[in-house]
């Protein structure tokens, strides 16, 4: 079998096919207790201006001091992206005026970022893999927030977010469709969560994306790009790209040219609109922040962090395939969310038993996931524990219950929000009947009562299933289906 390949996704225009080229700049809030350059809390929520230090408010004479945990988190993330870690990096000031930016400049990294080139592999629907280049990762401060709805004539400023550490992760323009872009952000978020360097919560703004989109004729050089700012859900990223690519194609096909500009995505209308043109772009007057020395650390510092890096999704997936024998599709599904992967492994290993990985995976990806979806939770957040999953799988494996009964056991556990599967089966008499005497009796009774059906089945053997169903009904579903099947066939002489 040939490995699946990345299929070119072209957009049909009025004058021919177009290819879309996408690069992403993802802003990921660093998971840390304190801000990048101050001791103030990074906790989400709280009353406006609850988490503001003198530094965050840019009081006169205040100085930034680097939070080393944020540095460690950036290095961990760089390692997770298999990227170059720069032992020396420089913080620069990006100067512009806005009320949510108390200093009048954002401390960022411009020329010398803490992390250089890396790579992130995405899995496409058809099973193909694409290696997306990472251009760089740098640390920078978040801005505050303006509140426009508190007063009829004034805007208020909330500086709780001011100074919170962000990692800006910039990809190369390696993505070729909205699906790939969505897969990229999904995978990046997964890696960040595995690493524990960003919670990836897009609703809280912990992860935002600026999407750079351009179009070109297949095989030609890069077109002029537009940057869509601050898109805050994966679904919107897809919509924004689809809209923007078609807009650009329309402009070019109508004889126009694309102006390099910054655009905003309006989720309500599903369209992008111009925010500012290149001419209106700020001159940020970047220069090295003289309040901060260059950020320097040594290789042993990096090695120490690398030694304690958790297993990441790609490695975990490979292990699930190679060591546990799971199909690639199942492995990919399970590792996408770290908690689900952990849940799977916990269920697999309860009591140190060696369970059938595929059986455990099927339950988690099937009935447990369906239940989790129905209550709007992640698998790991439901009332069903890995121990219960293991219990069900064991009962089926031991032939104590059938797969069908197992679904009933699960339903009881979800209803009662707990319970040991073995105890439930015991207490409710759900054990499957393997006593052939009892099954024989039921089979004989049904054959005796339905001579016409017997004749039909003997003429057309597939109709024997009707007898099996009747026996199962008569035994309350507890009869071992295989045993029933065998007996019915024997009695009918099939």
């Amino acid at each position: 079998m040939n490995a699946p390949v990345r299929m070119p996704k072209l957009i049909k225009g009025a004058t021919g096919d177009w290819e879309v080229v996408i690069g992403m700049e993802v802003h990921a809030q660093v998971s840390s207790n304190a801000k990048l350059f101050s001791g103030a809390s990074t906790e989400f929520g709280g009353d406006p201006n609850d988490h503001v230090s003198l530094v965050d408010a840019a009081m006169p004479g205040m100085l930034p001091v680097i939070n080393e945990e944020c540095v460690r988190q950036a290095v961990r993330t760089g390692l997770g992206l298999k990227a170059q870690i720069n032992l020396r990096s420089v913080f620069d000031r990006k100067n512009y005026f806005y009320p949510d930016l108390p200093q009048g400049y954002q401390i960022s990294q411009f020329k010398d970022p803490i992390v250089g080139e890396g790579v992130l592999t995405i899995d496409l629907e058809n099973g193909a893999q694409v290696a997306v280049g990472i251009e760089r990762l740098h640390l920078e401060q978040d801005a505050g927030k303006l509140l426009h709805d508190q007063h009829p004539a004034m805007s208020f400023v909330d500086l709780n977010r001011s100074g919170v550490a962000l990692m800006e992760i910039v990809s190369k323009p390696d993505l070729r469709s909205s699906e790939e872009a969505k897969a990229y952000v999904t995978k990046l978020r997964s890696i960040l969560r595995y690493l524990g360097t960003c919670d990836g919560d897009m609703e809280k703004g912990s992860l935002r994306a600026d999407v750079n989109v351009s179009v070109r004729r297949p095989g030609e050089g890069l077109g002029t790009r537009c940057e869509i700012k601050n898109v805050n859900s994966i679904r919107f990223i897809g919509q924004a790209i689809e809209y923007e690519a078609r807009r650009q194609i329309g402009v070019i096909e109508d004889g126009g040219v694309i102006d390099q500009e910054t655009r905003l995505f309006d989720p309500g209308k599903g369209e992008t609109r111009s925010m500012r043109s290149k001419e209106e772009a700020h001159d940020y007057r970047y220069f090295p922040d003289p309040d901060l020395l260059p950020l320097e650390f040594d290789q042993p510092f990096v090695d120490g962090l690398a030694a304690h890096l958790p297993e990441l999704p790609d490695e975990k997936k490979a292990r699930f395939i190679n060591a546990l024998g799971l199909p690639a599709y199942d492995a990919g599904l399970l590792v996408a969310d770290k908690d689900t992967a952990d849940y799977f492994e916990a269920a697999l290993n309860v009591g140190g038993a060696k369970r059938d990985a595929k059986a455990v995976a099927n339950w988690i990806m099937g009935d447990i996931s369906a239940y989790a979806n129905s209550v709007g939770k992640a698998v790991s957040q439901t009332f069903i524990t890995p121990e219960q999953v293991a219990g069900i799988v064991d009962l089926i494996g031991e032939g104590v219950i059938s797969g069908k009964i197992a679904k009933d056991v699960l339903a009881i556990m979800t209803e009662e929000q707990g319970g040991d599967p073995r105890a439930i089966v015991e207490a409710r008499g759900m054990k499957q009947v393997t006593d052939t005497g009892a099954i024989e009796k039921a089979v004989d009774e049904i054959i005796a009562a339905n001579p016409d059906k017997v004749a039909q089945a003997q003429a057309k053997p597939t109709l024997a299933g009707w007898f099996v169903g009747q026996v199962m009904k008569a035994t309350g579903g507890k009869a071992n289906p295989q045993a029933v099947n065998d007996l019915v066939k024997a009695r009918l002489g099939l």
């Binding site: 006169p60 004479g61 205040m62 001091v65 100067n95 200093q103 003289p290 901060l292």
Partner: protein, 493 residues
């Protein structure tokens, strides 16, 4: 008791220890002197109640045998240092009546050592100026006058309030800051001693920033010994300032008496600036001779990139300032002038809040950092800066222990004489001092004589990084040889 203000800081300290007078008596004498000297306009805020309360607390500690190194000694504080609960403005309208809720590290260390605060001293707005004429509280007048003239003379700048107050005995010593010469030039103009320590020696935390990579706090005092005592209390590592240095703070006072026997003193040939007066040249030679007489070996050194220093300084300092002063936007504190929208509020606030010289430097700095000019100006200036540093490194590597130069090319000028002229005229008064800031080195200005019109002149000594001790030792030799200088009469009372 008015003669208590005649004491040096060291004498006052020893007198308090010997219980010859109380801290309250010492402070009262200074409070009275401050009140009588309002004509000089050195203090922009007097804090007599606070001073007397601090002095009373000092007397309790002295009685209990718990006196700190500066116990009961009344000092003035440049208005660039944030003082908790005491208005701090950097002498700019844009800060309005700003009262910090925090104390700068340097002043906190002074108070922890027992010092008493008399009030806040004027400076050029945001420390931008060389004459203290850009303060929003109006110019400071030097206690010095030319012989036979009552024309007002500038006290230098930007620490002109500090230099005038120390020279007029309105405090035993004062804090100051130096970005391109703002401690040493006013010290030279007022016959006082000014020390710009090595960059990183004193914490910048809580000091209103002008140009972060150049700003450094230091003392202005009436003697080398007093300056040494002050610096000991002001200096030290501060984890709140990443650029502060983890260097041992030595007993600077002990170094004062070391002498210069066996030391090598360099004379940079490039400092013979064109148009330098014969008077300054003679003073310089006299200083070299005093050091020779005390046993030092005086040699010529070359600092070939000196000629580019002023240009580099006036790119780097305004560049940093343009960014440092962006926070004064009327949004969170200080003055605000409303506008029809946020942009016009910014414009109105900053137009009304900043003075002319500050605006000039913000515009210069914005220009040199802007796209297309950054490499030609800022990057080039940083290269010059590296070369200047290398010049000094080479001189010190060749065995030079300290470098002797004039502090300024001339004595103090008259009030209003230069402020209306070409700003570069004013900038030239820092020509001998800016290199030291660009190289991050320590420098001291020591009074060395009077010019033909009776105005004080200073000599500057430049040291190796974190070797302020040699500067105190050599400075003391000059002070002993030259004698001390004070204004002839207390005309301002």
């Amino acid at each position: 008791m008015s003669d208590l203000t005649d004491l040096t800081l060291a004498e006052a300290r020893d007198g308090l220890r010997a219980k010859q007078f109380s801290a309250v008596e010492l402070t009262s004498a200074h409070v009275q002197a401050v009140e009588q000297a309002r004509a000089l306009n050195a203090y922009v805020l007097e804090t007599p109640e606070k001073a007397l309360a601090m002095a009373a607390a000092s007397d309790v500690r002295i009685a209990a045998g718990e006196a700190g190194p500066l116990e009961g000694l009344p000092l003035g504080v440049k208005d660039l240092f944030c003082t908790e609960g005491v208005r701090t403005t950097a002498c700019s309208r844009i800060l309005g009546e700003f009262i910090p809720g925090y104390e700068s590290t340097v002043t906190a260390r002074l108070w922890a050592d027992g010092a008493v605060m008399l009030g806040k001293l004027s400076n050029d707005e945001f420390a931008m100026g060389s004459s203290n004429e850009t303060s929003c509280f109006g110019p400071v007048t030097s206690p010095w006058r030319r012989d036979g003239s009552d024309a007002a003379i500038v006290p230098g700048g930007s620490s002109g309030g500090s230099s005038a107050a120390v020279a007029a005995k309105l405090c035993l010593a004062a804090t100051a800051t130096d970005t391109g010469g703002s401690i040493r030039q006013p010290a030279a103009y007022t016959g006082t001693v000014g020390v710009k320590p090595t960059y990183g020696r004193c914490s910048r935390w809580g000091i209103i920033a002008y140009a972060s990579s150049l700003d450094q706090a230091g003392p202005i005092a009436r003697t080398v010994q007093d300056a040494a005592i002050m610096l000991k209390s002001m200096a030290g590592l501060d984890l709140k300032d990443t650029t502060s240095f983890d260097a041992l703070v030595p007993d600077f006072e002990a170094a004062v008496k070391r002498g210069v026997k066996g030391l090598t003193i360099g004379i940079p040939k490039e400092y013979r600036a064109p148009g330098m007066s014969a008077e300054i040249d003679a003073l310089w030679e006299r200083g070299a001779q005093w050091l020779r007489d005390a046993g030092a070996n005086v040699v010529e050194v070359s600092l070939p990139h000196t000629q580019y220093a002023l240009a580099a300084y006036y790119i780097i300092a305004p560049a940093e300032a343009s960014s440092n002063l962006a926070r004064y936007d009327g949004v969170r504190y200080g003055a605000r002038v409303e506008g029809r929208d946020i942009a016009s509020m910014y414009e109105n606030t900053r137009a009304a809040g900043f003075g002319r010289e500050v605006k000039r430097r913000i515009m210069t700095g914005t220009y040199v950092l802007s796209a297309g000019y950054y490499d030609a100006y800022y990057v080039r200036a940083q290269k010059v800066r590296a070369l200047i540093k290398r010049d000094f490194d080479a001189a010190f590597a060749n065995g030079v222990d300290a470098i002797l130069t004039p502090t300024t090319p001339s004595a103090a000028f008259g009030l209003g004489e230069k402020i209306e002229a070409d700003p570069v005229e004013m900038y030239l008064s820092d020509i001998f001092t800016v290199t030291v800031n660009l190289a991050g080195l320590p420098g001291i200005s020591v009074p060395a004589g009077l010019d033909g019109q009776g105005l004080p002149l200073g000599l500057q000594l430049i040291g190796k990084p974190f070797d302020e001790e040699t500067l105190f030792a050599a400075g003391q030799v000059i002070e002993q040889a030259a004698g001390r200088f004070a204004p002839a009469a207390s005309w301002w009372r």
